[in-house]
Amino acid sequence: MIDKIFFILSALTVISASMVIISRHPMRSVLYLVLTFFLISAHYVLMNAQFLALVNIVVYAGAIMVLFLFVIMFLNLNKEIEQHKGLVIWLAAIIAGGSFMLLTMAALSKTTLPQATDANYNIGLVENLGATLYKEYLLPMEISSVLFLIAMAGVVLLGRKEKIIVE
């Protein structure tokens, strides 16, 4: 049962992720990206990590994608901004993409992926995640939060308007 759900979900995720780059319209791309985040959250739920699933939705679908949409709405999308691509560019793209695919397939056929058999399915629950983060990984956790704080201070500094001094 869970296997079936997993495969259906994975197929949907891959399709919607491909639609992000296939669809011509930036607005549709963003909406497909939101759908992809939802499907990834569904994968988290399948792994019994409800906390991660919801944080993924709150942070990515709820905040970052709204900002994406916010920016795209300011663009003037009525104009035809599609650049004319020559035959050489098409050929180059096909060769580059094809060789990358060949490389990946060759590499994947030689490797055996490790399989998690007795994984801990309770690690994604809030209590366990919190205990792990704040007991075992306290220092990295605190350092990354300081990094976020620095980034925030930087944004405030950059976003502030220069004061015009009237002489």
Binding site: M27, R28, L31, V34, Q50, F51, L54, V55, I57, V58, A61, G62, A63, V66, L67, L69, F70, M73, F74, L125, V126
Partner: protein
């Protein structure tokens, strides 16, 4: 009856109740507005105008369905639907009453008790803005676009303060499950007495997130014609207006659950679990919900709308620092109690 069937029936009942309460909220809003402005309000359809919501609904269904020529057709149709879905999704984790024990089986009056219920509500609320954004952008109208942009920036700004006011509450309750939060508030241990500042921040943000006055800038008719729903007509407009009332109902339920003891009433622990207790707890819960719905309307017809820069200043320069202060205070009190 199997457990799945009971859950299914319960979900359908909650769905119906949400729609019914939202329907009569439109009537209540007009009556309260009339009362506050010394008018009579709707009184033609049925006794005291009690059938007015039905008349409004029928009218909206028979209005002309109009899609602007240059609109993005699919997204234009999706916008109201998306807004409605996100409005209805939140009620899944709200406990509406005490457990009902019948024939040794316990029936919980809650669709699902996930252990991250609080985050679920927060997540769905943050998705609510998509309906407005998509609909407003797809209309291909300057006023709609401005309304949608206002909605997006307002939503993002107030979400932060709302999240931080919840952090202080979670520090105190040390759980994210709504049922456990309600159970902890038995007797008079309502969270509002321990987190008054958090409650104040949360209720202001709830007003902003539901786009209610004084935060209804996305549909500000004096500047933007109708805001994000300028181009919508017929039941698509109805969905936007209706979903706002559902949001109001759910916000009231969340406020009652988090800060006002949910379905708990003072002598709840001395009563035997049974039909009387369940019914009484549901009545108490809905009493609290209706009080908050009334508060939403009272504020709307009392306060004027904010200016846009005032809105942003309130969100970023007052509410967020206050929320941080609240978190530090809560942490200090918890540490003091532990020592």
């Amino acid at each position: 009856m199997s457990a799945v069937m009971i859950k299914l029936i319960f979900i359908v009942v909650v769905f119906g109740v949400s729609l019914f309460v939202a329907m009569y909220s439109t009537y209540a809003e007009r009556k309260i507005a009339a009362f506050l402005q010394d008018r009579l309000g709707p009184n033609r359809a049925g006794p005291f105008g009690i059938l007015q919501p039905f008349a409004d609904g029928i009218k909206l269904f028979f209005k002309e369905e109009f899609i602007p020529l240059k609109a993005d057709r699919w997204l234009f149709l999706m916008g109201p639907g998306f807004f409605m879905i996100t409005a209805l999704m939140t009620s899944a984790v709200i406990p509406f009453g005490a457990d009902f024990i019948h024939d040794g089986k316990t029936i919980a009056l809650q669709a699902t008790d996930i252990n991250v219920g609080l985050l679920y509500i927060f997540g769905v609320v943050s998705l609510g803005v998509y309906g407005i954004l998509i609909g407003g952008w797809a209309s291909n109208n300057k006023f709609s676009l401005l309304g949608a942009i206002r909605a997006a920036s307002q939503n993002i700004s107030y979400e932060l303060a709302m999240g931080m006011s919840i952090v202080a509450l979670v520090m105190m309750t040390s759980t994210l499950s709504l049922r456990e939060i309600v159970d902890q508030q038995a007797g008079w241990h309502w969270n509002v007495f321990y987190q008054p500042l958090g409650f104040l921040i949360f209720i202001i943000c709830a007003f902003a997130e539901t786009n209610r006055a004084p935060f209804d800038l996305p549909e500000c008719e004096t500047e933007l014609v109708g805001g994000y729903h300028t181009e919508f007509s017929s039941m698509k407009l109805g969905f936007y207006l209706f979903a706002e009332y559902i949001n109001m109902f759910i916000s009231s339920a969340v406020l009652a659950t988090l800060f006002f003891g949910g379905y708990q009433f003072p002598w709840v622990s001395s009563m035997d679990p049974g039909l009387t207790k369940t019914i009484l707890s549901v009545v108490v819960m809905f009493g609290k919900i209706f009080f908050f719905i009334f508060l939403f309307m009272w504020v709307r017809w009392t306060l004027p709308r904010f200016r846009y820069d005032q809105l942003m200043n309130l969100g970023w320069k007052i509410l967020i620092p206050l929320a941080v202060v609240n978190i530090v205070l809560t942490g200090a009190v918890i540490l003091y109690k532990m020592m």
